[in-house]
Structure formats: structure tokens, C-alpha cells
């Protein structure tokens, strides 16, 4: 794959704003999303349904957690935009807000609805004032933002809207804000367990994880944290929560790979005055991870070219570090053809050209039954395992 086609491939993996909003809504129990937009709001939800076997966005015979305003109009969407839709959209808010399990109602716009200056924010504000379900507006960047912008914007809207009382933070209690909880499957469960384990090793207890699949109570438990640990997928939300609760803020990168995990531990450890403890954990765990993976890395992985196709810069940065640790070389022209490893989501048929390790969003082809993290030391072992398997499978195909 030459650099040009690689950049075209990267373009093909790019996902827009609303996809990220959907991922976020799927990651909050009791959350509903009203999209001022056409029926394609439903078909878009199917992408998340295919990525997450336990997605709650579109249950077969329940209430869709992604509602669209077109349901009330019997005309072509383009033509309907010239009519006064306020009462009809308000009716959608009232209907969704009255559902017994609706804890949080978020609202945003599809791209062409974003242009027409419809008072969605005002309608959301009016319904928020009525009490009951929490109602928040997610300013749409559907015409220009990426899915990661959508995820972050949803977290920010939640950070502004949920109840967070200042001065309740406890020492050693942390809120981790900015975790990308893309699905309710064991790869994410493994990541969450590993994050909590690393922090526990530093003597810190996670009281709230954004986002994690928990509901409003999980989000509002952030007020109990004396420290907000900011992961890269919702930096602004972490700042808002820290400001609102008076907690300290510690920004860290994604702990993917040995170096990044060590940096994560050192940064947090230094912030809480436990740098020496962090170093001790690192000495112990990094050595063990190397021992456990050396045969896979040295016999099967090292020395190959690697191609990273990700529109998620945080994941891409982590994978670049991982590739160095695995002894992989930068992929370039002529690396397609089977020997090279490729770390990419499943938006294309990368398996025909590479030893493909599906990672990133979306991942349609892997739905693990057992925990399979990719963060921290546990994630490092799993990635070594998966990279080796991809190599061997590719070689076995000839």
C-alpha cells in the first residue's frame, strides 16, 4: 500500500460527528438522544448496533434510544424544514422525557438541520427546566466535526448538566473522565478493569468512570472524587467536572503499550505524591509483561513492517509506541502483500493485504466473550497475542 492509497484509506475510516454522539449515548444507561433530523438517524444507529452486540440504541420492540424528529412528519425531510416544527419537536421531547427509564435526554442536530437555525437548544432548555429527566443540548458539529468531537461534546454536555456539588471530594477517590467506552463487550470491560487495577495499585479508588455504561448516578458520583483523571476522549468534560467539584485535575494520555502505561502511572503517581510507588509498580509489571510476551514478539512479530490506519489520533499514538516496543518497522510502499501487520478498524478489507489486527472503531469482526483489554499491562499482553495470531493466520493462508 503506497502512502497515497494509505491516506485514502485513512479518509475512508473517518466517521462524522453523530457517530460519536451515538457511541456516547450507548455508553450511558438511561440516556436517550433526540436528533433533529431525518429517518437516517435510525440507519446510522445500526452502525453502533453492529459494533456493540449489547447496544441498547435500537431494541427490536422497545423504545429507540435514538429518536428523530422526522417521525412526526409525513413529508420529505427537505421540504418539511420550511414549516414550523416547534410544536412537533416539543412533542418528541415530552414523549421521550416521560419514559420511565429516561434518566437523561440529550438533543442534537443532523447536518442539514444544523443549518436552518431551528430553536432546538431553547426547546431543550425549556424541557430541562420542567424537572424529571435531565435534558441537555449537545451543540451540533455534524457538518464539520468528527465522531471523536461528537463523543467529547456529549461528555461536555453531560458535565455541564449533571448534578455535581462542590467540596465533596475525598482523598484517594478519583473520577476518570474521558474513557472511550465504545461498547458493552468484554474488550471494554477489560480496559475498565485494567484502568481501575492500575489506579488501585497507586492507592486510588475509582468512584466514577466517564463513560462506562453506568447511568446518571455513576456520572454524578464524580463529585466524590478529590482528583479528576482526564483521559483524552473528553478533556473539556474533565475540566468542567474538576471546576464544578473543586477537584484537582490530572491529564494523562492513553495507557496503550508499555511506555504509555509507564507514563500514565508516573504522571498520576507524581500528581498524588506517589512517584516511588509508581516506579516500583513499573519495575515489577513491565518486566513481567516483557517476560510473558518475548517469545511472541521475538519469534513472530518483530522485524515486520506495520501500518496504522486510524482516524483516532490517541489510539494511533498509542499504537505507534506499541509498534516500537514490538520491534515493528514503519510501513511504507511495498509493504502490502501479507507480511506487514496492520492495526485498523474494520471499515475496509485490510485482511486481504495485511496481517490485520482489528482495533479501533468500528470493529465489526471481533466480539469477544472473555475479557480482552488493550490498555495497560493486560492490554499489552493481549495485543502481543493478537498480533502474533494475525501474523500466523496470514502466513497459514500463504
Amino acid at each position: 500500500m503506497d502512502p497515497v492509497s494509505q491516506s485514502e484509506t485513512l479518509e475512508a475510516t473517518r466517521l462524522p460527528f453523530l457517530n460519536g454522539v451515538y457511541v456516547a449515548v450507548d455508553a450511558v444507561d438511561g440516556a436517550y438522544l433526540i436528533v433533529d433530523g431525518p429517518y437516517c438517524v435510525f440507519t446510522k444507529a445500526e452502525m453502533q448496533y453492529c459494533h456493540n452486540l449489547r447496544s441498547r440504541l435500537i431494541p427490536q420492540f422497545g423504545y429507540n434510544r435514538v429518536a428523530h424528529t422526522a417521525e412526526i412528519l409525513n413529508t420529505e425531510e427537505v421540504q418539511s424544514l420550511s414549516t414550523d416544527r416547534v410544536a412537533q419537536v416539543e412533542a418528541v421531547f415530552a414523549k421521550v422525557g416521560s419514559l420511565p427509564d429516561a434518566e437523561i435526554v440529550l438533543a442534537t442536530s443532523f447536518d442539514f438541520h444544523e443549518l436552518v437555525n431551528f430553536p432546538l437548544k431553547e426547546i431543550a432548555r425549556q424541557h430541562a427546566a420542567k424537572g424529571g429527566a435531565l435534558v441537555a443540548h449537545v451543540p451540533s458539529r455534524s457538518l464539520g466535526g468528527t465522531w471523536l468531537d461528537g463523543y467529547a461534546a456529549t461528555c461536555s454536555a453531560l458535565a455541564r448538566a449533571v448534578t455535581l456539588r462542590p467540596g465533596r471530594g475525598r482523598k484517594n477517590a478519583v473520577a476518570v473522565i474521558g474513557h472511550l467506552r465504545d461498547r458493552d463487550e468484554p474488550d471494554d470491560a477489560g480496559n475498565r478493569r485494567e484502568l481501575a487495577r492500575l489506579l488501585e495499585a497507586l492507592g486510588l479508588h475509582v468512584v466514577s468512570l466517564w463513560l462506562s455504561g453506568g447511568g446518571r448516578a455513576e456520572l454524578e458520583a464524580a463529585e466524590k472524587a478529590g482528583l479528576v483523571i482526564s483521559l483524552p476522549y473528553a478533556r473539556e468534560a474533565a475540566k468542567i467536572v474538576a471546576e464544578r467539584t473543586g477537584a484537582e485535575l490530572c491529564e494523562v494520555d492513553l495507557p496503550l503499550g508499555l511506555g504509555a502505561t509507564e507514563k500514565f502511572l508516573k504522571t498520576v503517581g507524581a500528581h498524588v505524591g506517589r512517584g516511588a510507588r509508581a516506579n516500583k509498580i513499573i519495575d515489577l509489571e513491565s518486566a513481567a509483561a516483557v517476560r510473558d510476551t518475548q517469545a511472541h514478539v521475538q519469534r513472530l512479530i518483530a522485524g515486520r513492517a506495520a501500518v496504522i490506519i486510524q482516524d483516532d489520533p490517541h489510539l494511533a499514538a498509542g499504537l505507534r509506541g506499541l509498534c516500537v516496543e514490538f520491534g515493528l518497522l514503519d510501513g511504507g510502499p511495498g509493504d502490502a502483500g501479507g507480511r506487514a501487520l496492520c492495526f485498523a478498524p474494520t471499515t475496509g478489507d485490510y485482511a486481504s493485504d495485511f496481517a490485520h489486527v482489528p482495533i479501533g472503531y468500528p470493529n465489526y469482526v471481533e466480539h469477544p466473550v472473555s475479557e480482552r483489554p488493550f490498555l495497560g499491562y493486560a492490554g499489552f499482553r493481549h495485543l502481543a497475542d493478537r498480533a502474533a495470531e494475525a501474523v500466523l493466520r496470514r502466513e497459514a493462508r500463504g
Binding site: P16, P59, Q60, A67, H68, E71, L143
Partner: protein, 571 residues
């Protein structure tokens, strides 16, 4: 004869118009109506003609004038001729043609007229099949599905014209935002899809190139979207030199007023690259028909063989082979196949073919047959040949419209070599019970012949020997019917009105159930597999394959001894 449209085109077609009951006139019917109305002799041309339940609506045109006529039932056995607008407003010319039409219809019986027109009428949607809401209306546009615990049937209105493959040298241009482009799971594997009959990318690209304009906020605010569209079309036409471009415009560019019409005209004129433009707010059927007209070109009528046909609406190569053999039994030679592929050299085939025979027209309703009728071809468009009864009816219709004999012989020749295998299959199917579930309307859709699917699911299951159990929601206890014979199998009716009743019914001796959901929690709670109309194939070989396929599904029930552990759906 024609003006700008072929007879039979419905001028009021919209997004779902394809599902409305529509029956049009065939070649012989058109010819008869033309004579009956007497217009051609007076310089009037027949512009449109459509057949309703109790009336024929026609429009005659002469210059800029248009006269709409209705031939309806007069209450006895005669034809009542009426026209739109007050008689006093008519010109002498119009009164003259009205007098001619009245004279033509005076001695005509209503029943005779309709029998004659029905002889080769074209079925675009089943007359009783248009009433049920499609998946779009009944599921996608609805957010609250909580009351629909009983609903398993969400038929998809197919728009197969979108699947037409025009050949290798064509280019697709999509004028859309990134949000719009990434609005479905096209690249996923079919097992993951929400609906069981959505199986990955539907369009066959055949190596077509693909260009996205990817409109951003800056493009909209800067007023550049029209420019982007024109530039994309220009680049593709000049650099890729395709046989034609398929342009799709979407909501946002149409909202801001982008219009490619002048660019399309220029590319056609200067570079000879035609553009097929489909959009959100325009009727795509006409666009496809215009392209079809262009592809067909002008074929002289003289060289056509009355026993040479084109086969249209091909669901699979196997179905094409079997239909070709069946038609061969009637003495017909299939000279070529159309739809979804249109990359055969059509003019060569058209020169030899005297008729177009639709194999499965369901889903192709937006493609009308004006282009064929205009060239003098007869058209056979009726229910597809699913199963024994359906296959025989299809063959009868072909023979009837084309004036052929030998149906019995052709059918026997096709049936005999497969009879033993069919009987063996039936013996296996007789031990299996298949559930069709829904309200009365849903169950009717699945049990009555024709309807939206073009065949009866219950009828075909019966032909295969299955026991069909219809679970009817809200029907009341009086709707219960014990198993009675249906084909080689049985059919029974069991009413239910609560979740608990449905759940109990699903747990009682059912092997397989019809559902449009790919993963239906109601069935999965009992380890039951599902199926849709997609499991059925036309033809006799198709029927055998269908039976084997359904039997395999019946056997594929996981956790045979541990189903108590499956999560319930009723809580």
C-alpha cells in the same frame, strides 16, 4: 404515437407510489384502447392509460391540448364514458373526439372490455398488496416500538432499480456530507445487521469508480457546494471517461439549492458523457427509464422473432437458467437478460426479441415498460413463478399473453424429473411446524397469494409439506382453527393477545418462525431460528432449495438441553 412519455406512466409517482396497486395496459390492450377511442384517426394521441379496479383512465393529447377520459362501469353491463371538466368548455375538436369515443364504447360491454384489457395487462404491484405499510413507515419512521411485542413482519419496499448494473465503465458521484455518507453499516457482515434481509452492500459496483464531494460547513457557508459538484462531475467525466456517471444528490445540497441540470447538459453535449441523476426530491424511476431509453436506442421492429424473448428481473443465475428452460418448453428462445444487469448489448437483442418476460417483477415497479412497448415488444409482467401453483400460473400467463400452446406439456416436462425429490423433501418437512406471527393484516400478507411479496409464504410452506401455525394477535378466541390440509402440509390459526400467551405459544412445538429481525429476542428465548421471504426462490429447483434451506434452519436450534438458561424477553 408517443409524446414525451410512454403510455402507462403514472404522473403522480412519489416515494412510495411503487407500492400502490397499479396495473397498466400491455401492447394489445393499448392497441385496442386506441382503436376504441378513435383518437388517432382524428389526430389525437394516446398519452397515458391505466387500469383501476372499476375504471380505465386515459389521456389523449393533440398539440398543447389534453383530454382526460374515464371508462367506467355504467351499473348494467355497459361502459360509461366521462371526462374531466364541464362539457360546455370543450372545443369542437374535443367534442368530436368525445363523440368518436362514445361511438366506440357504445356497443362495448364493461366485462368484455376489462377481460380484453386484462389479457395482457402489466402488474406493477399486486392490486391487493399496496395497503400494508412498508418497513420505512412502520419501523424506521417510528421511535416507540414498545406496544409492538407481537409484530414480526416489517416488509421492505424494494427499489431494485438502484441495483441496476450498467457495466464496467461507469462512475458514481455522491454529493453529500460525511454525516450522510456514513449513515449505515454498509460494510458490516450480514449476521450483524438489524434486519435479516439486509445483507451488506446491495449495489453491485462492477468496478465502477466512486467519488464523494464531502460537503463541509465551510463549503456551505462559503457558497461553494454547487461549484464542488460541477467540479466533481467535470473531473470524473474528463479524467475517468466513463460510459456515464450516476450522480446522487442528498438532502443538504438540495436544501441549499444545488442543481446539476446545466452541468449535466454540458457534459453530455461537450464530452458525450450522460449523467443519471437521482435525488431525494425527484422521482428516480423516470431517471432510470430515461437511461434505459438511451441504452436501448432505436431498434427496428421488422427483424423481431415472435418466439424470441428477453427475460427481465433476474434474482439469481439459477433462476434465470430454470426460467429459460421453462420458456424453452413453450418454444421460446431467451435472447438476453435485463435487470439488474443492463450491460448486455441491448440493441442487438432487441432486434431479435419480440417480447419481454418478467421473471420476478417485485421490487422493479419504478421501471415501467414504456421503452419496450414503444418499440412494439409485447410485455409479460405478472406474479413471479414461486412454487408449484405460482410457477404454473406464470407459465400460463406467458403462454396466454404471447398466444402460445403447450403449457401442460412444458410444465409436466419440468415437474416430472423433480417429483421424487419433492416427495422425499415433503416427507421431512411434514414433521416440522413453522410459525407466521402478527396481526390479521400481517398474517394475511404472509398467507394470501400475491400481496407485497409476490407469493404466499404459507402457500409455499404448504406445498413443501410444512405445518404452518399462524399466531394471530388480537383476533379473539373465535379465530382459533385446528390444522387443516394446505397443499402437502397443514395450516392452523392460534389467537393470542398478551406477551405471556405469545411466549407460551412460541414454546409449544414450533421449529421455525418468520421474522424480519435478524436477532429476535422473542425467538432466541426459545432457541428458535427465524427466516424471511429471502429464503424463498422462484422455480421448481428454487422450491427444492428453499425446502432444504428451511429444514436446515429447523435443525439449527442451539442449547438443546439448556434452554432454561436463555434470557426471557417478557420481563
Amino acid at each position: 404515437m408517443m409524446r414525451d412519455e410512454a403510455p402507462g406512466i403514472n404522473p403522480a409517482r412519489g416515494r412510495d407510489a411503487a407500492r400502490r396497486p397499479r396495473r397498466r395496459l400491455g401492447r394489445e390492450g393499448l392497441s385496442y384502447v386506441r382503436e376504441l377511442l378513435g383518437g388517432p384517426a382524428l389526430g389525437w394521441e394516446l398519452e397515458t392509460a391505466s387500469l383501476g379496479d372499476l375504471a380505465l383512465d386515459a389521456a389523449l393529447v393533440k398539440g398543447s391540448r389534453r383530454l382526460e377520459l374515464r371508462l367506467g362501469w355504467d351499473g348494467a353491463d355497459g361502459v360509461r364514458l366521462s371526462t374531466r371538466g364541464p362539457d360546455g368548455d370543450r372545443t369542437e375538436d374535443e367534442r368530436e373526439v368525445m363523440r368518436a369515443a362514445a361511438a366506440g364504447t357504445a356497443a362495448t360491454s364493461f366485462a368484455g372490455l376489462f377481460a380484453r384489457l386484462g389479457r395482457d395487462s402489466l402488474l406493477y404491484a399486486d392490486p391487493y398488496g399496496g395497503s400494508a405499510p412498508s418497513r420505512f413507515e412502520r419501523y424506521v419512521r417510528i421511535v416507540d416500538h414498545s406496544p409492538d411485542y407481537w409484530k414480526f413482519v416489517y416488509p421492505q419496499a424494494r427499489f431494485l432499480e438502484e441495483e441496476i448494473s450498467f457495466g464496467v465503465r461507469y462512475a458514481k458521484v455522491s454529493h453529500a456530507t460525511l454525516e450522510c455518507q456514513r449513515n449505515n453499516a454498509q460494510l458490516t457482515v450480514e449476521s450483524l445487521r438489524f434486519f435479516a434481509d439486509d445483507s451488506g452492500p446491495r449495489s453491485e459496483t462492477d468496478g465502477a469508480t466512486y467519488t464523494d464531494t464531502v460537503i463541509t460547513e465551510a463549503d456551505v457557508v462559503g457558497g461553494r457546494t454547487q461549484e464542488m459538484l460541477n467540479a466533481a462531475l467535470e473531473r470524473v467525466a474528463r479524467e475517468e471517461k466513463p460510459a456515464f456517471i450516476h450522480l446522487k444528490t442528498t438532502c443538504l445540497p438540495e436544501l441549499v439549492g444545488d442543481n446539476p441540470a446545466s452541468a449535466i447538459a454540458r457534459l453530455d453535449k461537450e464530452l458525450g458523457v450522460p449523467v443519471l441523476w437521482t435525488s431525494k426530491t425527484r422521482d428516480p424511476g423516470r431517471m432510470y427509464e430515461a437511461m434505459l431509453e438511451r441504452l436501448l436506442g432505436d431498434a427496428p421492429a421488422a427483424a423481431r422473432g415472435p418466439r424470441v424473448v428477453l427475460l427481465a428481473g433476474i434474482p439469481s443465475p439459477q433462476a434465470e437458467r430454470e426460467a429459460t428452460a421453462l420458456l424453452g418448453g413453450l418454444g421460446l428462445r431467451v435472447a438476453g437478460a435485463l435487470f439488474p444487469r443492463l450491460d448486455v448489448p441491448p440493441t442487438a437483442d432487441l432486434r431479435s426479441a419480440g417480447a419481454v418476460v418478467w421473471l420476478n417483477p417485485v421490487g422493479w415497479e419504478k421501471i415501467e415498460d414504456g421503452a419496450f412497448l414503444k418499440r412494439g415488444l409485447a410485455v409479460v409482467r405478472h406474479h413471479p413463478p414461486f412454487g408449484l401453483a405460482g410457477g404454473r400460473r406464470w407459465l400460463d400467463r406467458v403462454a396466454s399473453v404471447l398466444g402460445l400452446d403447450g403449457v401442460e406439456q412444458a410444465w409436466t416436462k419440468a415437474l416430472e424429473p423433480r417429483a421424487a425429490e419433492l416427495e422425499a423433501l415433503r416427507r421431512e418437512c411434514r414433521g416440522r411446524v413453522v410459525a407466521l406471527i402478527g396481526d390479521q393484516s400481517d398474517v394475511e400478507q404472509l398467507t394470501y397469494s400475491g400481496r407485497a411479496l409476490g407469493f404466499s409464504v404459507a402457500g409455499l410452506l404448504g406445498e413443501l409439506g410444512f405445518g404452518v401455525r399462524c399466531l394471530v394477535w388480537g383476533a379473539g378466541a373465535g379465530a382459533r382453527r385446528p390444522p387443516t390440509a394446505s397443499g402437502a402440509g397443514t395450516v392452523e390459526f392460534v389467537p393470542f393477545s398478551t406477551r405471556a400467551q405469545l411466549d407460551r405459544a412460541l414454546g409449544r412445538g414450533i421449529d421455525l418462525a418468520f421474522t424480519h429481525f435478524n436477532h429476535d429476542p422473542r425467538l432466541e428465548a426459545h432457541g428458535l431460528p427465524g427466516f424471511t421471504e429471502a429464503a424463498f426462490e422462484p422455480g421448481l429447483e428454487g422450491l427444492l432449495r428453499t425446502g432444504r434451506r428451511l429444514l436446515r434452519r429447523c435443525a439449527a436450534r442451539p442449547f438443546p438441553r439448556h434452554r432454561d438458561g436463555l434470557p426471557p424477553w417478557t420481563s
